[in-house]
Symmetry: D2
Subunit: 327 residues, 4 copies
């Protein structure tokens, strides 16, 4: 469903080529300074423009509908809209009968009996991540001074990101990447046994981001190949500082006061310029197919701020729940 | 918190060295045949006994408290207990002041101001996975004929599992592993945008399992190194059958009718026989430390049935929600 | 918090004198025909205009932001806005220091440390019932042919409603009333033990409507004065038809196939033209006070459609949950 | 469904004539002193024994399964069982084909296709209120020094309760009653707009109690017959003390610091000794019928402690959510 969170809750809506996309954030305490300008830096980071990103340009100006008064949050739900002013729906009409490989076109059509808004992925479009980024800005204010930071550490299997993008442009094929997100200054004790472990809540949100197909905390998959004496983090002082950080800052699902570390696998953009094969639902045969429209060669370039937002949102809810459970 | 699910809901409770551990399953339809015997095969798979597993022996006989009548589910909550009859709490008293590296001892003590039941990990013990396995048996009946299957595909970095265990026993150090879970026969359309993607719900549950530190769907992390034209799955027929299955059976967070595939990274058992360092809260210094008690050298050996249960529980809830949203 | 429902979920936002009020409906099945016009009749019923209602006139044209495509619901969240185009905020500035008796001014100021949008009740305004009515229109489509009907059966203690209004206008004092809501054609079996009884879910929503202070189902308070032999409803046939309907169509929290009947007590409009006493937070003394602004003498006149909407929303969620729990 | 609450959560299970009934309380802070003895006074108040109550005697000794350690709550879920040791299931076998008027027998049979445990009402039995009372004891510790107090203020329409019971015994017919619950010392600000108003959350829980058919807050139904100038509560000082308390301590769904007051209508016990009519599902005809088994003539006598528990549970969750939403 389209809402998430126990106390700090967000609810998202909208379609890529409809009127707007937007988000409602409920459970935000009153009295937090908040202006339109606060959203702009993260929205800009999410924007297209660089090499390897789509030429579709959206203003992405947040339109604050509710929950703000005199420059502060009021305790009431904060709803923010982003109008879609640069849609080219006709691009999508033509390909309706040829579901794009890697996209949700085919499953959405089946799931909703053809009633879904298929234009540009509709409600499943990456454009919905605007809503996450927006809620993330609010979440970051709540968890301050904790400050998640995400960055692309690998693209197309290469840690030299620029070179990877150049290569993708050259071969005219899309690529994926790996994003690492860290956060320092977390107190000990966020996260709840059993089902609201920090890993559970973060991964739930992160896998809501389109194109994410993997996540690992601390030493993750590599750690599974090591031994207990290698992978355990020796505790060094009364604050719980550890010698290594293979746990990624989490023990038993609960923050241990060390740096939070996780990595996210982003698949190559499904809309590659390369010719592909797909089922044509009209001709009832497999056909060669080239995706049209304006797309990112490496969506992973724009995803760090989204992962960061997901992390902040998860931490905000975990923090508020954790605080609520104290006497 | 200790409950999970929207329609098919489970709530777990209990401590490793308390009276019992248990689970309540709510939202199970009435009329499903269910007996004590139905639980035994999966419970046995979770049991210790093999090389590399703990010598602690528990009968693990499910005691059905409610929700069954005349051999069928009644529609009311099903509560099942497992008495703890083989606890050696004194093992744990001695190490109270030396939080075990890799375990949650340290964070639980801080989070709960020392009030947590610290014996054997208390409520955060791996023994709580009994509750998951039990709920998993019920979930499997609901999603039948879909049948998740999980197996250990790598231990200590080695795909020859027996060799890996032998080596761990020889070096007297614990090891981790990678579990792969698959499920065939899923219909198209389970999973909900935006926050209840199949990946989100499965990962939420899987990261509730102690020792899990990573998860990837389909081609996962490896896929992030490939290109769109390599990673996209060409659609071949009107049922959505794809040529490859790099998506792991999920597009846009929704099942696409192909095989569900995901892999889970299990860290090496934190309780290694090797000497480690930790903070002694009484002497206020870092001390050499060797974990006592009976432990698994490779907890990953016992984890496949738990991962399988988590998968089944997630799918049961996803299925029921998906059905609820149809007219 | 500002969302409600397990499957059919609504989330509301907005303030009386802000940009807009609105609602997001999630969990609405795809394929339901829905147009702007569908909302107008119920919105009109909620409108002011008659004797005893406020002269504030709002266009109340629903602005559909998302979730509709080609005249049908898409399965994605439906967000609908109502712009506030007739606000006179200066009316409220003057009375900021004199919290209006019967209103939430005083408690909101304390709860939110003065950060709440106090203009016209802000987020706690009766204007938010627009969101309920809007969601109610969608809910009614889902539960059709079940059709809740609510009407004012008593105003100011008088069953002659017109006479009651005339008297209120004459004495220039506000009055309350009692609304009865009924629904026929419900199947047997909606409602869930233990906490999602039909009465629980309906009352939860109904008490979200400002000014509601009581609810009773079937014979309600009067029934508590009778005897079991008088109050029990004899079952007359295999469909569960009963001789009387003192249960109001609900046994054990579950619909029994007979008519659903409940009554709601609406308090007199807090904004009476009569002079009252309140605490002046500036002068720190009790002062005589007359409420300004444009208000309803009998808000109960406009409330039936809101109660009807709350009933429809509750039934839609109960129906969908009930269906989800069947094999 | 069988769980309730956002932070302070309870989950109930069990059947009247099964193994046990029980409750799991999740979201209880660690460090609260709690012993078996703490439960006994409220459990005793709920017990049968007085004139007008059932002769069925149960020991009702709470069996604490989890969540307690060294006499304090641990922060983990608290599960408590009550074994059923005095069941006479054969009483119920005979009447299986004659659904008892006023009970849920008929609807449960239809809802669950005959799979429900019908003995003594099964999971819908009043015996499940043991679970509420138990959770209420814990909730009262959380909200202390706030202390809800409920008492029967009317039985069979008579405020002289003893006389009412005598009369019921004499005429051998069951009666209902009205319970008033109050609580002093509440701070200003518990309760959340829009859907978690104090009235919404309390009524949701109170209508989960079998036999409850009405609730009103403050002046309630009587208030709906008065005028605004009569019903409004003048604010008298900076603490929000009001001259009257027609609001029952709640404005805009939020506690205003004055006494919380609500009244609950309990229907006459459905199991009256009087002969009634019901549908015989075997003979397919309406038949005279007399209920067998051991029953309360006035279940309302035993209900105040249950209403009090529901109030405490609701307030505990409202308090914790309200605290969570503060910076």
């Amino acid at each position: 469903m389209n809402s998430f969170g126990r106390i700090f809750r967000l609810s998202i809506f909208g379609e890529s080529h409809g009127v707007a996309v937007g988000v409602t954030v409920d459970g935000c305490p009153a009295g937090i300074p908040l202006t339109v300008e606060d959203f702009l830096p993260d929205l800009k980071r999410r924007k297209a423009g660089a090499a390897g990103t789509t030429p579709r340009k959206e203003d992405d100006i947040p339109e604050i509908i509710s929950g703000l008064f005199n420059g502060h949050t009021t305790g009431a739900p904060i709803t923010i809209l982003f109008r879609n002013n640069n849609t080219q729906s006709k691009d999508y009409e033509a390909i309706r009968n040829t579901p794009r490989p890697g996209h949700a076109d085919f499953v959405l059509d089946k799931k909703y009996n053809g009633y879904n808004d298929y234009r540009g992925g509709g409600h499943s479009s990456g454009r919905l991540t605007l809503a996450l980024v927006t809620a993330g800005v609010i979440a970051k204010k709540i968890i301050a001074p904790v400050q998640p930071t995400a960055r692309l550490i690998e693209a197309g299997g290469d840690t030299d990101i620029e070179a990877a993008i150049d290569k993708a442009v050259e071969m005219q094929d899309s690529i994926g990447g790996i994003i690492e997100c860290t956060a320092q200054g977390l107190p000990i004790g966020w996260g709840e046994p059993f089902f609201d472990s920090v890993e559970s809540v973060i991964s739930h949100l992160v896998f809501s981001i389109p194109a994410v197909k993997g996540i690992e905390f601390g030493s993750g998959f590599a750690g599974s190949k090591s031994t207990g004496s290698q992978n355990n983090d020796a505790i060094l002082d009364e604050n719980g500082t550890t010698k290594t950080n293979n746990a990624g800052g989490i023990n038993g699902g609960i923050t241990n006061g060390n740096e939070l570390v996780f990595r996210v696998a982003i698949k190559p953009t499904s809309s590659t310029p390369q010719q592909q094969q797909t089922w044509n639902t009209q001709s009832q045969s497999v056909e060669a197919f080239t995706v049209k429209g304006r797309h990112d060669l490496c969506i992973a370039l724009r995803a760090p701020v989204v992962v960061e937002a997901a992390c902040a949102i998860a931490l905000a809810d975990l923090m508020m729940v954790s605080n609520a459970l104290k006497l």
